[in-house]
Each structure stands twice: as structure tokens, then as C-alpha cells.
């Protein structure tokens, strides 16, 4: 009886282990929420026969997964953290793939009058002056780091802010939900906002400043550090992501008629 159970159990575990060529890649929530991955993954499977398994996490966690060798590559958007990742010997190199942009979302009534702001610096100063509710990701993600650097560039320090500054410690979608509930401003990548379902009385209030550009980069995990990683697959995937088919799909991806991403990988 016990022997039979053990055999059945072993068979079950074996069934889980049988897999095709698989590559695990940690990507940021903002990339996944854009819906672009649903277009790219089938095309990748078609052209390279690699099944890419996406782990959708914040940039902070994506980098941790890469450092631990639990994924084969990461696709994130936080330049400083990426460079530290390569310098630390965790990744072989950093390859820029594409960019999109960040936008400021807020309540339609716009208490801080962002619609007449001239720059992102001006927009953030207005929010601070009006002490209008602001939701921060607060999760060490690429978007969170971007938000902190924007406050810094405007000469402001979120640590000194009062109760109107809410650090929610959550992903982009959850933060947008919270901002909607509070009627608060928040910084979002354009893709997550366009795909967001629960908009209520929220609107896109500021966009277009060059410092709001959001560069995505691809970093394969260093096989010298983690010999088990699928470095060959990661190389194939990089070639595909920087190739003509990826360019066509990335540049051609739209939501409600709006282009989201601009392909800018340089051939080497």
C-alpha cells in the first residue's frame, strides 16, 4: 500500500519535470501589464522554439531572482540597478531593447492643476504645494526608483512629506487601484495605465517630458556565476529581441490606437 503510494507519487513528480526547452525570464509588472508580452512570446516560440516562462515581479525582486540564479535573464527598467547588477558579476552585459514613457495620473478634478504644468518638475512641485494625495509604489521597483529620482530632480525629498504621501508597497495595478480609491495622483507607465480597467474618475494629467522616458534593458544572467543557467537560450533570445521581427512587433504594438513602445536596440 505504502509502496504503491510512493510509486504513484514519484510518477507524479516525474510528470512535472518533463519539459521542452524552457527559458525563465523575470520581467517587471509594467512590461507585463502592457500586454506586449502576449504578442512577443508566441512569436519567440515560433521563431526560436524557446518557451519563455515569465516571472512577473517588481524590478527589485527581478534583480534578486537574477542574482540568486533562479532565472536565466531579466528584462527591467532601472538603469542604476542594472549597472550594479552587471558590475557585481551577476549579469554578463546590459542590452537596451526599447523604451516607453511614464505619465502622471490623477483625479479628473485635478486639485493641483497639473494640466497647466510646463514640466514634470513643475508638476511635482504643484502636487507638493497643494499637499494633494499622492500614491507612491514604495516597492523598490523601477517605477518607484524613477519616481524618487524625479522628486530629487525637483529638489524635493519624499521623506519630509506629510500624510498626503502614501507609500503602498504594491505593484502598478494595485497602486492604481489605491490611487483611484483615494482620488490621489500617482506616477504610472503609460502601458499599465492604458490597460487599466478600473479608471473611475481618473485621467492622464501630465505626460511628454523627456525625463519621463522609460528605458527597458535585457540582462542575461552570468553563466560563470551560475553554471546551470540556459546561457545559450538567453543568447538566442537576445538576438531575437534585438532583431527585425521584434522591431516590427514592438513598434507596431498599440492600445486604443496609441503606440506604446519605441524599439531602440542597437545592432552590434
Amino acid at each position: 500500500m505504502i509502496k504503491r503510494l510512493a510509486i504513484a507519487l514519484a510518477a507524479m513528480l516525474m510528470a512535472f519535470a518533463a519539459q521542452a526547452e524552457v527559458l525563465r525570464m523575470a520581467v517587471t509588472t509594467s512590461f507585463h501589464n502592457s500586454g506586449l508580452s502576449d504578442i512577443l512570446l508566441p512569436a519567440i516560440a515560433e521563431d526560436t522554439a524557446i518557451e519563455v516562462q515569465l516571472l512577473v515581479v517588481g524590478t527589485g525582486q527581478a534583480i534578486r531572482l537574477g542574482e540568486a540564479g533562479d532565472v536565466d535573464a531579466i528584462l527591467v527598467h532601472s538603469r542604476k540597478a542594472e549597472e550594479a547588477f552587471v558590475e557585481g558579476g551577476f549579469g554578463t552585459h546590459r542590452r537596451e531593447i526599447m523604451y516607453n514613457d511614464f505619465v502622471v495620473i490623477g483625479p479628473r478634478v485635478d486639485p493641483a492643476d497639473l494640466q497647466s504644468a510646463g514640466s514634470v518638475r513643475d508638476a511635482l512641485t504643484r502636487i507638493q504645494d497643494a499637499k494633494a494625495d499622492f500614491v507612491s509604489r514604495g516597492d523598490d521597483s523601477g517605477t518607484h526608483k524613477k519616481e524618487l529620482s524625479l522628486w530629487g530632480a525637483a529638489g524635493l525629498d519624499p521623506k519630509t512629506f506629510g500624510g498626503w504621501y502614501h507609500e503602498v508597497g504594491a505593484g502598478m495595478g494595485a497602486s492604481l487601484n489605491t490611487a483611484t480609491g483615494l482620488g490621489a495622483y500617482t506616477l504610472s507607465d503609460r502601458a499599465s495605465w492604458l490597460n487599466f480597467g478600473n479608471r473611475d474618475d481618473m485621467a492622464l494629467l501630465f505626460a511628454g517630458d523627456e525625463s519621463l522616458n522609460n528605458q527597458y534593458a535585457y540582462l542575461p544572467v552570468n553563466p560563470e556565476r551560475h553554471p546551470h543557467v540556459n546561457a545559450e537560450g538567453a543568447g538566442k533570445l537576445e538576438a531575437w529581441l534585438t532583431g527585425p521581427r521584434a522591431k516590427e512587433l514592438i513598434d507596431g504594438y498599440t492600445i486604443n490606437g496609441e503606440t506604446l513602445f519605441v524599439f531602440n536596440a542597437k545592432p552590434r
Binding site: F16, A17, D70
Partner: protein, 234 residues
């Protein structure tokens, strides 16, 4: 309120059209939680019974610990299992992280104390009734445990189903160790968390209703198969 209605409507359509993704993640939810249930029961039921009949020095402390572990936070279990199974962790060579096996391991850890604790409570009462009889028959320890499990099977079923309920509705641990990978480790609860994050409340609720329906169906099925709660039998 409107969201709930929409959720019910989308749940209805998902089920009626036999949506392929829904079927896949529902089956995976069942596969993971039922496997965890079988493994956890195999550990917890003998353990709980043994604790009820055996007297040893640290018995009270063990039982108190077991009861406390019933409230083990899944997200902490997930994190610990993640660290153990990570490529940089002690069991990294097995390559189990981000597979259904890792999810089963985490769930076994979460529900074993729950099942063992309920088993222990039930068996203690039953042991009080059976004590004199089994002792006078000079039954061995093994036979005593077997007799108690056999006669207490109704309560044990309840204990197991409580464990199953906790496993199938659990999201914190399997999100971390499974990674919510599409077509590989996505289950109902992690899909619900994902859709909520996207602000698609209707789909998230629809999946939630499917999950509740599934849990009810499994419970009813197990009761029917084991012929409990029927006239003349209990």
C-alpha cells in the same frame, strides 16, 4: 455592487464556454492542492493520533506548538521555501523552484499542522472512550492508532477538508515559490491576484466564483464518495 454582478456574468460565460485557460488553471489548482492534501494527510493523521495516545515528556509543548503553527503565515512559509529551493539555497541543485512541486511542498507545510491539530483534538476524545477497551485487549501501539483512525474517519475527513480549504484558497506562498508563470504554475488564486492588479475586477471575481464552486464541488464529491451524512449512516 455592479462589479459583483459583472463578475457573476463573466463567471457564467467562462464556465459555459469551457474557456481553455480557465480549465487549465482550475485543473492545476486541483492538482496542486489535492496532492498537498494527500501528502499532508499521510503525515498529519498518524501524527495527530499518535500525539493523542502517546504520553511523553514534551507532549504539551509539542501540542501547543502544533496549535500555534495552524496560524503559520503562508507568505513566510513561501519565503522560507523559496530560500531553501533557490539556486543559491541548500536544495537549489534540485531545480524545483517555480514548479508545481515547489507549490505542493509549501502547501504541505502550511496545512499539515492544521490537519494534525484537528486530528489530535478528535482522537483525544475518542481515545478517552476506547482507552480501557484497547488496553484490555492488549492491542499494540500500531493497532491502537489504526483502530482510532478507522473509527474516527468521519472527523478525520473534516480535518482533511479543512486542510484542503486552506490549500486551495492560499495565494501568498504559492505566488512566491510558483511565480505565477502562465501555462506552468498559474493557479486560480494567483490568477485572481494578477487580474485584480490589472484592475479587471470582473474577471478576478469570476475566477473567484469558480474557485468557490470548485471547493464546494470537491467537498460534496468527497462526502458522496465516502457515504457520509446519509440516512442511517454517520
Amino acid at each position: 455592487m455592479n462589479d459583483i454582478l459583472q463578475g457573476l456574468v463573466s463567471a457564467f460565460w467562462l464556465v459555459v464556454t469551457f474557456d481553455a485557460d480557465l480549465v487549465e488553471i482550475s485543473l492545476r489548482s486541483l492538482q496542486v492542492s489535492l496532492s498537498a492534501l494527500v501528502l499532508a494527510s499521510a503525515i498529519a493523521i498518524p501524527l495527530g493520533t499518535w500525539l493523542a495516545i502517546r504520553r511523553f515528556r514534551y507532549r504539551r509543548a509539542t501540542i501547543a506548538l502544533l496549535n500555534a503553527l495552524m496560524g503559520l503565515p503562508p507568505v513566510v512559509v513561501g519565503l522560507i521555501v523559496y530560500i531553501l529551493l533557490s539556486r543559491s539555497g541548500p536544495f537549489g541543485v534540485l531545480g524545483l523552484l517555480f514548479t508545481p512541486t515547489a507549490m505542493i511542498i509549501a502547501q504541505v507545510i502550511i496545512i499539515t499542522p492544521l490537519i494534525a491539530s484537528i486530528t489530535h483534538q478528535a482522537m483525544r476524545d475518542l481515545w478517552a472512550d476506547y482507552h480501557d477497551l484497547l488496553i484490555s485487549l492488549n492491542a499494540s501501539k500500531r493497532d491502537r492508532i489504526a483502530a482510532l483512525i478507522m473509527d474516527g474517519r468521519r472527523t478525520l475527513l473534516t480535518a482533511s477538508l479543512a486542510g484542503f480549504g486552506r490549500a486551495i484558497g492560499e495565494v501568498g506562498a504559492i505566488m512566491i515559490v510558483g511565480g505565477n508563470i502562465d501555462n506552468a504554475t498559474r493557479v486560480l488564486t494567483t490568477a485572481i491576484a494578477l487580474e485584480t492588479g490589472k484592475g479587471d475586477f470582473a474577471l478576478a471575481l469570476a475566477l473567484g466564483f469558480v474557485l468557490i464552486a470548485l471547493a464546494i464541488a470537491v467537498n460534496v464529491l468527497i462526502h458522496v464518495l465516502s457515504r457520509t451524512e446519509r440516512a442511517g449512516r454517520w
